[in-house]
Symmetry: D2
Subunit: 346 residues, 4 copies
């Protein structure tokens, strides 16, 4: 049995890692880290785990934790993982960081967009960006995984095949994304109250959201040139789910079959990516609770643009599920072990 | 592998049976019955199953189905199962009926509350009421299971221990229940439209709901006398979940510990029933997607009443999950095989 | 023009007073009190008022305010109004207190249920309980109004006629109430976050909720004897609305017409109380945004109980609307001036 | 008093016209047309109007209606108004058509996008497109108003000033729109059921939605050239509200102040259009229940694009409210008479 520790276990992403690992046949959780709730029963904080988890919340002493476990998940605010990690820890156990600390290779870019100093730039190069469908082989050998952001996961997987195949112009990409409210975290803030979110929709972080450079980096790797996009996230009154609607100009006249072939080329053997049937639009309910990514596209012959769409559960493929998928690759388990949850609908 | 057929696979309960059986290691689904969608791909109706189910919808020919499978689930409107079933079918395979056809032992009572003639009264006596926690041994030997209604499941399990132990007066029981909208089914009716349900709550079927006699029967068996209750269901703007708040007068002065002991007496070894810690109120989100029943109680020394509360997922423990639990008992599988889903929260 | 000041203008009830008074032809708001947001533009806090309110938030200096306005609304936590009020203030202007400070005549009962010391017990006797349909004449002459709680308003109006007419046994009353989330206020607390409330329902404050003695007092006045009830509130995933489902044993055999006549006796000339047609259940959507109270009942001949139901918008008739209705009475305006909003549906 | 008749009074838009006209001091409703509910009490269909409307539903005999009223609102499916209208009717009363029948000047374009034959092309030229902020003077003199679609209203008003001022390139406009579910109407269809919409988001009508040519026409008029856009609507789990997020390339380097000045040039005297403060994103909750349009923008200097955002209540400014605003102009009333509802929040 692989032993796992979670730092930040009482956030929504941490709680989801717990849900998934409890159903994983080869892993046991040894450490439920939560600075805010130290010494409280974990199942008192998340009562869905009543009678299923009998453990108290621990502090976030990563060095101590490294002696006890084989893998550490950090589901914590930006900067914490970078401030705790060191060579000794990495020599003892694998680390999967769900924060943004190691996602962006250019430390200056990270510091500019996140507004904080990076405390461990020496590990940035080594860290592998854990988008399994694209970086699978590197992930298998990694000690440190930068688990992708929720929006970047959904955006990149929706756009990747067309960009890689040169079917769209990188300079025309516009991503309009919509997220459920769990993406805003469990902090007690007025804008996240039920009555502030319910029965409303709004954009936020317009032209400034921190996931922008992460998406641009990944799209840039795909097409071999620098990419600058517009990315606009929206807050939707639902618990879970991210929907991406992306627009780009086609580089040439293409048929449905040609574009479909591009998606199939990259995804036909992927368990978690489902390229939907013609004219079926992805909707978040069809992936809820699962690690699936539903993608599809529509060619608009009038404007010579293509509309690319993708849907994920932000807490699963957008966070905890992808983290477990990364862990599976790193430890040689079946890639979908513990991740076969079927989307729950309604 | 046990072979299963589902009649009514495109209703919400049928769809949930599919979700659960796909994760059951000893069962394969051979028949997705749906009169409304014959010959259409099942995964086109429920796109959450895209790439997971490759089968077309079939008719509801129960006789033909009986030759092909070991167990039939009927998730159909009242009257259908009773109109199709016969001795030959029952001699070939087991039947788990999710409708009300075989729940009520007094056929006259059934016909009065449901307003239809019962077509197979000869099987009523044989049918076992599939509330596993109470009728486990009979279920193991049954050919025909009357799978309990959603409200009766939650109501009975919330009240049973105190009634069985004589701690409450049967004539004072009032059950105020609240249900998510999936309980109303997938029929295209104006009152179930999003804009009719959202941002509102109402009672319905006041003093006339058909689950009333079913609950009264079960409570009557528990206390050995006839019971007459008030039962008021309410429609809540959420997909899943039933919450029962039940009131009864205590028959004597009791302490918290005494009442707790009554619950523990019946439920301490039950995997699916969780008696919560003192003063923790059940909430439906903590059982969502799972087969758990969360129960608790509060003594009001001022009025000498006890408030009993229970929460289930109406589609799981209130329908499909309990059906699978019954199947597990009937076929000698572990009772929780395929039913270990951890509640998903948020 | 009557000049009004609001202490606590940035809570949900305060915000609703603003909405209503802006549409009141005889009132202008002179003071938007909000300790948390002093010197910020009120319309920056509640952007629905952008271009409609051009004023900054002020402190809660009630003495200074009394010099500037004719009426003060206090939409503040328990204890604040009692700590600020004094004879001088009351000699200068009228006060409508939306907190519980002056609702309960027995100061010991108040202090026990609220757990705080009452700072101005000398005004309790003078204060008039502002349930307009019942205490109209006293309200007209009052200096200090105790604006009723949301649950007590809906509960009392639903039950009052039957209790007053002796049709139900006061000792058997059980009130099961359901509220939208705005009733929990705008405080930044984890349990009120969108993802904690959405897709769930739960009871809270079981057998201990502070509105219990207030309801008991009012019901007691109606029947002329002490009343002890069970009151159980529930949190519902919607913004607005309270639904009360109340149960009581009938004191004699009665027909639908007799019970209907009891309701009509008290409500037939009431603008805001709508006794619905036979078998129509109140639902909160039908009163949303309005000051209406929809009530109805159902006799259960089997159990000889009656189920009484009522629906209000908790922020309007349950708080701000009733406060304005009280103000209208106190200043001699038409009782429904500024309160003719038609329920918005959907 | 102006006498009004409504054909299609039991749809959501028709119901909203009723709500608004009941609060209009110069109008009385004489005809509640609803083919589906003839002879039923209108307040039985929409119980929010209980005790407020005492009238039965009538048929859709437009000729008979024209003899009785001064203005007819048709809130009906595409094609109905065009099939009923004639010169005699228009000579007797004014007609405000909420369907798309007279919005598009090119009848071939209409017939292609809507897939039906236009029965009254002779009135297309005369009909005035009722976007009051832009066509005010023509509306005052019109007999027949084509009331704008919900998406076109919000899209056009969000983009108009920048296009008119030449600040954006018409060929780069992409509109990503999000709508509450009331926009889908009150028809009993499975995709509009609560459990199908709740907890999900999806795009629909991608590259094919019928509002596309209407938006293109209006934007074309603004910039004096043909415009081709991408328009993608999404279904959001909420009752009301449309949010538009539109993208376009700037034609030159501009400052915040310059773009703001363009909006102010067209909207500074408009009662219903609110240009929000810098960096405040429109959200639908801030306009709910009102006729306001909240717009704002954000310049992205990196991509040299501007993101334009707008929020309306789809049933008010997107349908019934704008219809009443048109009526006010046509009859010489104050433009905001009956439309001063303050947004209700939460």
């Amino acid at each position: 049995m692989v032993k796992a520790g979670i730092i930040g276990a009482t956030g929504y992403a941490g709680n989801e890692i717990v849900r998934l690992l409890l159903g994983h046949k080869d892993v046991e959780i040894k450490w439920f880290g939560s600075r805010s709730y130290i010494d409280q029963q974990y199942a008192d904080i998340y009562q869905n785990f009543f009678k299923l988890v009998d453990a108290k919340c621990m502090d976030d002493n990563m060095a101590a934790l490294a002696d006890e476990v084989d893998v550490i998940f950090t589901a914590t605010p930006q900067g914490l993982c970078a401030s705790l990690i060191n060579e000794e820890i990495l020599s003892k156990c694998k680390v999967i960081d769900l924060s943004a600390d190691f996602r962006i290779k250019d430390v200056k870019k990270y510091e500019k967009w996140y507004g904080i100093e990076h405390k461990s730039p020496q590990f940035i190069e080594e860290a592998v960006y854990g988008l399994c469908e694209i970086n699978r082989e590197d992930i298998r050998k990694a000690r440190l995984i930068a688990n992708p952001g929720c929006y970047p996961t959904c955006s990149t997987l929706s756009i990747y095949p067309l960009l890689k195949e040169g079917l769209i112009d990188p300079n025309t990409i516009i991503i309009d994304a919509k997220s459920g409210t769990s993406g805003a975290g469990r902090g007690a803030k007025v804008p996240n109250l039920y009555c502030e979110v319910n029965e409303s929709i709004k954009a936020y972080g317009v032209a400034t959201h921190r996931h922008t450079p992460e998406i641009e980096d990944q799209l840039g790797y795909a097409c071999g040139q620098e990419v600058m996009i517009n990315f606009t996230p929206h807050l939707v009154p639902m618990n879970r789910g991210i929907l991406v609607t992306a627009y780009a100009s086609l580089t040439k006249d293409v048929t449905y079959e040609e574009v479909k072939a591009a998606y199939d080329k990259y995804y036909k053997d992927e368990f978690f990516v489902r390229v939907l049937n013609k004219d079926v639009c992805p909707q978040t309910r069809n992936v809820e609770g699962s690690n699936f990514v539903d993608v599809n596209f529509k060619i608009d012959p009038r404007t010579k643009r293509v509309i690319m769409m993708g849907a994920i559960d932000n807490l699963v493929k957008g966070a905890a599920g992808q983290a477990v998928q990364n862990m599976n690759l790193m430890f040689g388990f079946d890639e979908n072990e513990g991740l076969k949850q079927i989307p729950m609908c309604p």
